[in-house]
Structure formats: C-alpha cells, structure tokens
C-alpha cells in the first residue's frame, strides 16, 4: 500500500467498528441497490400488483354501481375512506419532519435515513390524495374542488375546512415532491456517472439536470435547501392541523376540541416515524447496509416514536379529562360510550398499541433489538389506524340526538379491498423507488465522513 493510499484510509471514518467507509465505498455500496431486481423483488412486486388490482376492481364497482356499495349508512357517513386519508397523510408526515426539521436542528443522524422518509412522504401523500376523490363517488369531478374561473361565477367556500384541506394537501404534495426531487439531484449525478445502461443513464441525466458539482451549483443548492427546510417545517405542522380541523371545526361531540391540531400532528409524526423504521429495517438488511444505517440511527428514530407516543397518550387522557371536567353532558356521554360501548374493542386496540406497548421503548435493549422494534412499530401503525377509526366512526355513531344512535356500520368488502389496494399503491411506488433512484443520500452521507486532509488541521 502506498503512503498516499494509507493516508486516504486513515482519513476514512468508521462506523460501529464495521467496514471502513470511504467516499468511493459509499458510492459503490449505495449505488449497488440500483441493479437488476432479483426474484424476491419480482415476487413481492407481482403480489403487490395483484392486491392493487383487487383494490382497483372494488373502485370500478363503486364507480359503476355508486358509492352505496361502500356500505356507508346513516349516521356513519364518513368511515374508512376518511380514516385512510388521515392515516396516509399522517404516514406522510415523517419525511418532512426528518428531512426539514432535523436539517434545521443540524441533527446529523437524519442524513442516513432522510431519503427513505422523504420518498415515503411523497408516496404517502399520493395515496392519501386518492381518498377524498374516491369518497366523493364521482372522482372525475374532483377539479370542482379547485378555484378556477368559470362561466357561472362559482367559487369554492374558503370558510370551509374541506377547502383548507385542498390547499394544505396539494401544497404539501407539491413542496414535498420538490424537496425530494431537489435532494436527489447530486445523487442522480453520481448514479449517472456510474451506470453503463443507456436507459438508466437517460433517467439519471434527467433527474440530475446536468449536475456537475461545481461550486456555484453547491452554493445555490444549499442556499435553496435551507429555505426548503425553513418553509417545509411550518408546512408540515400546518397540514395535519388543517386535517384535524376537518373534524374539530364541526360541533360533533368527540370532534369539537381545541386539542385536535397538536394531537393530530403528534400522532402523524408518531405513525410516520414508526413506518420509516418499518421500511428501514428490511432495507438495511436486504441490501447489507447495516454499516451505513446503523443501529444508533434506528435507535434515535425509536426515541422519536417514544416521545410522540407520550404526547399522543397525554392527548387521549386530556380529551377524557376535558369531557369529564367540562360542562357538556353530551361530550361526556360520547367519551364514555367510546371507551365502553360497541366499539370499545377498537378503542382498546388503539390505547394498547399507541400508549402502553411503546412504553417498552424506555428500555435500551428494546430500542436496539431490530426484530422486536419492527414488530413494535407495526403495532404502532395498527394502533394509529384504529385511532382514526375510533375518532371518526365512534363520534359519528353517537351524535347529539339519541334517535340517530346506531351501530350498524360494518366495514364492507369494497372498503377493505380499497384499503388493501392503498397499501399496494404505496408499496408499488416504494418498490420501484428503491430499485431506480438512490434510496440513501450519497452526497449527504459523504459529508459525515472526515474531509480528506493531507496536513493535520492546526
């Protein structure tokens, strides 16, 4: 080994006493993911497409026969579709948290995980956006939601929380897609410079926009990136607040509460981070990236799960306290029914998965045990789905007037198939993403390595 090579290696950082990481090895390790998919990938992808087509069939049925096939009946007219919408918007929240908020706080652990989180955000919003459209029953009229000049002089009602939602979700989709695609530019250039396949080269040339890494490009890239982070941070907090106001602005008992905005934001981050952990654990194992996405990184994410779980738990208790201590007997009755009535099973799943099980994250061995953490995060996502179900269905099934109280809501097969289809839709994008685009930020992970210096810094 020449003295120069020895010096280069001595400048390379090591992580967890794993293999030595150099700038070159990072390129090789991370771009290895972009290769011809194996049988396992194809098997998962085809299974995914089969589930997606079942969801598509259900939607076809719903379009042909009308929204009635979804089985929504009075008083529960918002059921699983709205729950799915809130669930997927929630999943989409982690990406911007990890990429923008942690960027502003200079938390370096984000570098190893943020690209996966951002991709999850974009695909999560794409999935969430389907549900208001499916729920309208006539998705081809979705453009009515947007303000556009028309002959009849009609304008949407800007005082309606549903219209705020249109603005919040479309802004979120636009900004998170831009953030994601801008972050990919330098990495697409690295992929472009390595691939021998002409089609992939064309794709990366388009994604990299001719990036060369010139000082002028880096200057403006980071100049803009800081502002993307700065505007995405208030955006992420506002989007789920607006989603929560879809409920909280009405007077329905169980919904009409000022705690909803922070409670929903915390819940969104809670489920989003849990989903990121669920995606990262299999990816780092399948692509042998344990030395890049280390157990420390995952442990830090699991601490975020613990933090947000306590906020969510506090909100649950606070809602009950307000109902008990407040003057409104209808609200009090609603909460009592929620915890003990027909849907008490859903409430118990929600509380166990979101508050009790995550308490085990106080223990370090649990946070560092990957299979256990994977199962725990899955249970968090199940719990968070049930949280939305409990909020929406129990509140609607038990409104002011006792004559309308009814528990005739059952999830229809159409709703079930569309829910399964939504997961397939999300994973379809994700499976293509991990094979086509750099799933980890090569340039940013390189920044965590010590810069190669010939002389020792004085």
């Amino acid at each position: 080994m020449s003295s120069d090579e020895a010096k280069k290696l001595s400048h390379a950082a090591t992580a967890d006493a794993g293999p030595v990481i150099t700038q070159k090895s990072l390129n090789d390790d991370l771009l290895r993911m972009i290769s011809r998919p194996g049988r396992l990938w194809w098997a998962i992808f085809i299974l995914d497409l089969v589930i997606l087509s079942i969801g598509g069939l259900a939607e076809r049925n719903q379009i042909v026969h009308g929204i009635g096939v979804a089985g929504h009946t009075r008083p529960v007219m918002w059921a699983s579709y709205v729950a799915n919408f809130v669930f997927w918007v929630g999943i989409a929240h982690c990406g911007t948290l990890v990429s923008a908020i942690l960027f502003l706080f200079r938390s370096h652990f984000r570098r190893a995980v943020y690209r996966v989180a951002e991709a999850m955000t974009v695909f999560g919003v794409l999935t969430a956006g389907l549900f208001p459209l499916l729920h309208t029953g006539r998705p081809w009229f979705a453009y009515w939601l947007f303000p556009y000049p028309n002959q009849r002089g009609l304008w949407p009602n800007f005082r309606s929380p549903l219209e705020w939602d249109v603005f919040a979700v479309t802004t979120y989709l636009t900004i998170s897609s831009i953030f994601f695609l801008v972050g990919i530019i330098p990495d697409a250039a690295a992929a472009r410079d390595r691939t021998n396949n002409r089609w992939l080269k064309l794709i990366y040339t388009v994604f990299s926009m001719g990036w060369t890494g010139a000082n002028n490009q880096w200057k403006n890239f980071y100049g803009a990136y800081l502002y993307f982070a700065a505007i995405a941070t208030p955006l992420v907090l506002s989007v789920h607040s607006v989603v929560s106001w879809d409920f909280a602005m009405s007077q329905v008992p169980g919904w009409h509460s000022t705690i909803f905005a922070p409670y929903f934001v915390a819940g969104a981050i809670f489920s989003g981070v849990a989903m990121v952990i669920n995606l990262l654990i299999p990816i780092r194992k399948a692509f042998k990236l344990e030395h890049i996405v280390t157990v420390d990184h995952i442990e830090k994410l699991s601490k975020l799960v613990l933090l947000t779980s306590t906020i969510v738990g506090y909100s649950y208790l606070c809602e009950f306290f307000s109902a008990w201590y407040g003057p409104n007997p209808i609200e009090r009755d609603m909460f009592w029914w929620r915890a003990t009535g027909h849907f008490a099973w859903a409430f118990r799943i929600m509380f166990t998965c979101n508050v009790i099980i995550p308490l085990s994250l106080w223990f370090k061995p649990v946070r560092r045990n990957m299979p256990l953490l994977f199962v725990l995060c899955l249970s968090v996502n199940v719990g968070m789905y049930f949280e939305r179900f409990v909020i929406i269905v129990t509140s609607l099934a038990h409104p002011f007037n006792p004559s309308t109280w009814d528990v005739n809501y059952r999830m229809s097969w159409t709703e079930g198939a569309i829910l399964a289809g939504s997961f397939a839709w999300f994973f379809m994008f994700f499976l293509i993403f991990v094979r086509l685009l750099p799933a980890f930020s090569i340039a940013e992970i390189k920044e965590t390595l010590a810069a190669p210096m010939r002389r020792k810094p004085s």
Partner: protein
Amino acid sequence: MIGRLVDKLLQSPPPNYHGVMGVYYYVDDVTEAVKTLREHGHNGLSVFSPVPHHDIERALDQKSSLVRWVTFIGGVLGITGGFSLCIYAGLSYPMVTGGKELISIPPFVIIGYESMILLAGLSNLIGMLALARLPQVKSRAPYDPRFTEDKIGIWVPCSDGEARKVEQLMRGHGAEEVKIHG
C-alpha cells in the same frame, strides 16, 4: 433505433474548452491551490466536488446565495395572492351564513398561509435552478465522472500562453492529474 438515438443524445460532442483542469484528492491542497491561483489573478475558476466544503468556499471568497430573495418575493406574492383570491371569491359569489361578514379574515389566513408556502417553495426552486444554471445540457468545463465520487477538480479558464504556468502551480499544490485543454 431508439436506443441509438438515446446514445447519441447522451454523447453529444463536448464544446471546445480553453483552460486547465487539475484533479485533487485532499481538501487542503485544493484550498491552497485556489488561494494561490486567485493571487495570480485567476478569478474565474470553478471547483467541482462530490460534497461542498466550507474551506473551499472561503478560499473562493464565495458570497451567500441570492436565492433567498427570490423565495421571499414568492412568499409575499403567495400570501397576498391567497388573501386576494379569498376576498375576491367571497365578494363575487356571496354565501351569507348567519348574517356574518363575507370577508372573514381568520379562515382566509389558512389559505393565505398555504399559498405563501406554495409560492415560496416554487420560487425557491426556480431561483435555485436559474442561479445554479440548471438544467445544464453542456458543462461549462470539461467534466470528469470522478467528481461525483471522491475527487475534486479545479478548472481554470485561461489562454494557451498561461496554461503551462497554471499547470505548474497546480502540480506544486498536490494535484494528482493536470490536463490542459485548448
């Protein structure tokens, strides 16, 4: 047929460059080389690197990006546009509820706020692309794929007469490779 067309598209002939490209590995070598080159009057140089380095930025005496002003203008347009849209829509299609004001500012704050973020984000993108000269079809300097791996390049545009001197300066500061173009 289409494949050949793609190949042709990807391998367009490079323009004629006049200058010297030095390839480096160590950041401190680059910083010293940039300082020396600038002292010799080569102010139009570009540095290509896989990651940005503050030392190099300081050696280049680089000012901070102007993109923030573009973002700010976009944000201002967004917030005024959002409020204007709500007020115009409220007046041109009046929906009176409970005899309340048509122009009710609190709900419009949300539309104004989201529009501000949307336009600030879009103008931030446009500002970044315009200032960084992206998308770039032809590089302004001879590009080397190693610049996205672990090498740093210094490109000094200069006349053929100066090229030898620049090459010597680069080699004196630890360049691994120096190539004269022109």
